[in-house]
Amino acid sequence: MTDLMGTKRRGGKLDLQAEPVILNIGPSHPATHATLRFIAELDGETILSLTPEFGYLHRCFEKESESHTWTQVVTYTDRLNYVSPLMNNVGYAMAVEKLCAIEVTERCKYVRVLISEISRIIDHMVCIGTNMVDLGALTNFWYFWKPREEAYMHLIEPLTGTRLTTGYTRIGGMQWDLPEGWVQKCRDICRNVFLPAIADVNALLSKNRIFIERTMGVGSITAKDAIAMGFTGPCLRAAGVPLDLRKDETYLVYDRFDFDVPIGEHGDTCDRYMVRMEEMRQSVRIIEQALDQLPGGPINVDDTRYVLPDKQLVYTNIESLMQHFKNIFEGIHVPAGEVYSATEAANGELGYYIVSKGGGGPYKIKVRPPCFNMFQAMPLLCEGQMIADLVAVLGSVNIVAGELDR
């Protein structure tokens, strides 16, 4: 292996007078968050070149969705970004509703905003928690894991029935309405669980010298490069680009809330962490406003072509029974066409490109994963830095393999 590449890059002199070493990191490695692999060419501890590889969790979301009905695909979308599954459900339902030209009810929009923001908070908690574990700051992981458990036990499980793979949205509405006492519990948890946990972790990290020295200036990217590589989400905002689909291409009822979008400066790991922390606080703001403004009314649209009819009618009325049967066995009939719908997921722009040829199931669904671009840019973020910096950067860009590999 010639080291021409290495010597050119470092101005002709290797740090240690030896040949560069090729180190294989992953795919089963604690710091690579499951199934990522890097092939790093190292000069001592400095990374000369980095080749990321993935596909170790490729579960064929697209191929599976081609042989299932529209509603059955919702369960596959849960497993995309499995840390915030409700957001994937919402994104998919919105895409199909755009194709069917359905407008969901007001209450449904508010509930979707609520579950999206709760998912955003828990996603950022996992991201920061695991990033800190990789840096050795294990306490933050536990500080963030407790609010997640509270959210699971008191919010997500009573609402959807399960902790993680929720499958809560349906085309035209939701699986069912909010249970009793959920609104009060949500308010409670936001104030007494999420905000104190964020404050605790902030107190531990934001002025901590070790944290600052390990994350400031590490893995930085300029705004121009970030745009060229197609970054979106907190990683893009940390680089200074003020793009947030909730404000720029507002969907659901985000235009009725008053919230800020944090923007970083240098695009390094510290900025990504700060942006995520602030986004969590802003999400709590949105949740409180949404809970205040939550309207009553039905949760599903009143259209039995897409939504299952009321159970009493199904038992007593033959048309409703037939409609119920057709919706489940054949799948709802979505018009032919193609549509691209994007939402601001916790990691960035989660896009669904759906091609339909009419009929009960999709012809093709492509998911545009937000972390794909960030993982692609890992060489740009890490080359020239050290191995330990790779670990810090990888945690901060929040690669979720379910989404990356699909």
């Binding site: 490729h58 579960r59 191929k63 993680l164």
Partner: protein, 170 residues
């Protein structure tokens, strides 16, 4: 290498018979299982929840998670294993020292889950012997605790491990 013809990795001559000394060893072993979490997908998040403060797997002794297969004795496969990942899993299994136990967590590791396609291995028991299967998608952290307790029972009663009747001819 085709899937399914893994050589037997357990020593010949049968089970894990117990005498008084060995029951002492079994007692020590069962309360200090070192898990290697081979977490690939969503089940990995529930594994983290099981080790968390609410479900607390350390009550059962299986707290010390080792990220090196040489230092672990229970391989907890959490998540989907696909054909690209399968050689990695087999290599990790081979690197673990005897005695070792394998727990297949979740529907995907047990049988492929609801992914029956060109990329997903339909259950890790096609390539390595599995002692305990945890059903669920994903299973509750309580399911993981259940599996650890089941492994402890296996240790206690000296029941033969799955590795001893491997490979299973399907």
């Amino acid at each position: 290498m085709a899937v399914g013809d893994r050589p037997a990795s357990a020593p010949p001559g049968g089970g894990y018979a117990l005498t008084t000394l060995e029951s002492m060893i079994a007692w020590g072993r069962k309360y200090s299982i070192y898990p290697f979490t081979f977490a690939t997908a969503c089940c990995g998040i529930e594994v983290m929840g099981a080790f968390g403060t609410h479900y607390d797997l350390s009550r059962f002794g299986a707290e010390v998670v080792r990220f090196s297969p040489r230092q672990a004795d229970m391989l907890l496969v959490a998540g989907t294993v696909n054909y690209k990942m399968a050689p990695v899993l087999v290599r990790i299994y081979e690197q673990m020292l005897e005695p070792k136990w394998v727990v297949a967590m979740g529907a995907c590791a047990s049988s492929g889950g609801f992914y029956n396609n060109y990329s997903v291995l339909q259950g890790i028991d096609k390539i390595i012997p599995v002692d305990v299967y945890i059903p669920g998608c994903p299973p509750n952290p309580e399911g993981i605790i259940d599996a650890v307790v089941a492994i402890q029972k296996l240790l206690e009663t000296g029941a033969p491990r799955a590795a001893e009747r491997w490979p299973i001819k399907i």
